[in-house]
Symmetry: D2
Subunit: 296 residues, 4 copies
């Protein structure tokens, strides 16, 4: 297939590379040029503008946030203005449910197809074509783009016809990670004040019921109380919990743990934690126990 990829960060670059490897005809666009050149060296065609990446069967966007996606899609010379009715737009960014609905409507008004397909997995998984893809959209559109998902991920979950449902699933996953961070922060504050070594405690947890990657990865950060450099910075965590709460507001679903997480992030940021990893909210439980100085 002829595929445009817009956004060549850590995730997008791996995705584009795997699309090339799978034999697709890939055109790439990125705001800063060096990343485009790196992909061109792997066989991609370089696009100078968003519009140049929009002529094919599919255009896939993998960008930082709502603003970036809205700008690239809705703006003058954006994807909608530059695509025909046969192009399917796959949005893989972590965006709000609200924006996903707006994009669905805008593409629909233009007679175009829109599929939301956020992914679970880190940059290494993107590079290894081992992402998990959560897709939602009209059945015919999803069907058309299945080869794209096959090329970039190890498994695809099609969850609904309404694209925004996929975004909701992705956001809820970040909410669950935040819940793990907070609960581990509380548990470690408790056992550490009771005289138990935090690393040994984590070893017990991950050897038993809590053997999942999320406990190993974040548990290690929390046990080490090392929150710099940030893998995923606190303002991004704050933003995503805000998006979860907005979606929940719209659907009228009270989420008490999400409310707690929001308050934790506000406090961390009010105290100067902009540069810290989002798992640093765990330090607040230790601070409240009087056992840690969490100053950023």
């Amino acid at each position: 297939m002829r595929i445009g990829v817009i956004g060549l960060g850590n995730m997008g670059a791996g995705i584009a590379a795997n699309l090339i490897k799978a034999g697709h005809e890939v055109t790439v666009y990125n705001r800063s040029r060096p990343k485009v050149d790196a992909l061109a060296a792997q066989g991609a065609q370089a696009a100078d503008t968003v519009a140049d990446a929009c002529g094919g069967d599919v255009v896939l966007t993998m960008l930082a946030d709502d603003n970036a996606v809205a700008g690239v899609t809705l703006g003058d010379d954006g994807i909608i203005a530059s695509s025909g009715s046969d192009t399917v737009h796959i949005s893989s960014s972590t965006i709000s449910v609200g924006l996903s609905k707006r994009l669905t409507d805008a593409h629909g008004d233009a007679g175009q197809k829109f599929v939301a397909a956020p992914v679970f997995g880190r940059p290494e998984a993107a590079a290894a074509a081992a992402l998990f893809v959560v897709a939602a959209g009209a059945a015919d559109a999803v069907s058309v783009v299945t080869p794209v998902f096959d090329a970039i991920g190890q498994r695809t979950f099609v969850v609904a016809e309404d694209p925004s449902a996929a975004n909701l699933v992705k956001l809820s996953g970040n909410f669950l990670i935040g819940s793990v961070i907070e609960s581990l922060g509380e548990a470690m504050a408790l056992v550490a004040k009771g005289g138990v070594d935090r690393h040994q405690y984590l070893d017990i947890l991950t050897s038993t019921l809590f053997s999942a990657p999320v406990y190993k990865t974040y548990g290690g950060l929390i046990a080490n109380e090392q929150f710099e450099p940030a893998g995923f910075a606190a303002p991004l965590g704050h933003k995503d919990i805000g998006l979860v709460l907005s979606a929940a507001e719209e659907l009228r679903v009270p989420l008490p743990i999400a409310s707690l997480l929001r308050d934790r992030f506000l406090r961390l940021l009010a105290e100067g934690g902009e540069q810290l990893d989002w798992s640093a909210i765990s330090s607040l439980a230790a601070a409240d126990a009087g056992t840690s100085d969490h100053s950023a």
Copy 2:
């Protein structure tokens, strides 16, 4: 070693059987006789009284709660009254930090040794000698009883010299399970109201970052909204969260998620949920979203 085992429920019976298999000389006591007979058939010596189980090198208790353990240990003709200074009492029950401290003091006053060694693992793991043992106590006492741990578990973690630290770790584990239940309940209420199938959602979670047993086991119950029959009844969950909060109160550690869990259990019980599994607190999030009737 000569070992008395007091308490032959699902966990204690498996433990006693494995001690026999490992070649130890095991005497067993249980309040109701049939369970004693079953172990006697496997080679144990039957004790008619608690005191009869107390003559050896070790006496291990595996009972339902604080009251049972306190009764058997501190009462007339109890373990303390019936043991010499060479016997080590291993307490494997899930009891309060407060009782663990009382038992430590009482054994100390009697010149006896006390080791707390709660376990992680279900009855099947107990039967398979595959428990994880979290032990705490004076180094010499722990050293003496290491063969006991080797016979019943796949791995032992010695966490502190103060026995109650092991109980704190065990209780904190139940707090973390409770946190998983609550956060899954909230996340499922959200995505379900957004049109996503709960079972498919769970499949996504457990295929990716949340691959641990705790998510699979409790996620299944929550997705099915099936809370009867109870694997671990709501009043027991309520009790354990209460024990976590009491320990945290003593140590002065605020635990906002534990406070939330306590309120959830109070509500579930006030609404008549005595017979339900403790994972039924997840249904409250769905009820608050207006998408489920959680009436017990």
Copy 3:
């Protein structure tokens, strides 16, 4: 002074009437005409358009929400487009801090003066010229409009030069009322389940430390469990708590009770409580205690 009044609801009508009584030259505008005629009968000049109400020294707006105020102010033929640089716009509506900042900037760009002056007091107080006015704005602008405040209220508090500070104070007042409702709901659920009559309990409270109007008014509603007809409907309470949380988000101030209130409102609305008074969130505490059916 020559004063335009836009918005003749229960509050605006009383304000306009008192401005007339104080001898000001008052022009009134309202979307529906009968209210205009009623004021005209008291001596006001009737305006057919927003622009017609904008020619004088002051234009005061008293409208339902952000949308209404933004529409009237920023739209074509709105206040900004229709006023000169000598007119001061007094905004007395309960609006968001964000809109107040936008209006401040927009008037500033147009060389115009903007004062935020939300009021405390019910329609009866508006009719009796007994409002409490909380004003904020540039000192010269506030000084110009002081006679307006004198005519409509019993006391004016000038809190800051940044107009949005007055809106923040007003919103925080609604947050405090919400806190009283929630805490009374919890306390009454507790003592009622303990066998105490709710009305007698309220009598005790308001005879002692809690003698303020807010306890009497809302306590009565809560004790009676009578939430219809709504004095201030639940969706409005929900909206105002949302505005408080947005302002707090912007300022990075965690407000755990406001988060709780937000979750309460979401639940009340998810369960169908649209028509109820906002004090109906108190019924959720009783429902959770199993002592009340709070179905809307």
Copy 4:
């Protein structure tokens, strides 16, 4: 009537003095002697032991906490051991619902009458016979002791036949005060970060809907951020919120704001706030907003 008064702190001394003034025959007992002598100078008879204060129609206790009341009532040579079946024990201390039930049972077993009658009011109100008395007990017992209430208070509320209901009301009052402290702390953190003066803000509140003593008294402490010397120390506030939560646990009533208050007190105490007034929990909201250093 012949009345024994046990406990001559700030409250008890005022109560005893007013009973003397009303013409009753008063015998007083206190652990430290000087306070006894002061009352003797006003006409009381001095008792050397608890038993010596127990011979009359009524014995009223006004002591610090559960321990003190239980010791004086249930111990050897305590009130129960030293009283006949005609004596009514009035307990005016702020004690737990649980202890109140124990005392009710113990007096009942001894064929004696027990009335719980905690009071609302500060030491000045006790001195001025202006307390509010919240009484509960068997109707005949309450009827007998009405002259006592008339002598010490301005008004008596008889709330139930079960004495512990009166204790529940008293404790719930402290919960409501705690709720006011927390909500004011949050509101002031918000408006102060938004540029509004805390004292002016309090003036606005107490001039309008929030004119009750509780807002004036605690609002002043919070606006001043002056928490020493303590009028009511943080550990006492912590204890009372714990008693509220225990009563709610027993009755199965979730109280989310009480859970929040408990976490606030734990944090304040963990950070070293033992000497501070209980209103110092308000400083935590300011600390979390990054606008105040709340270090004790």
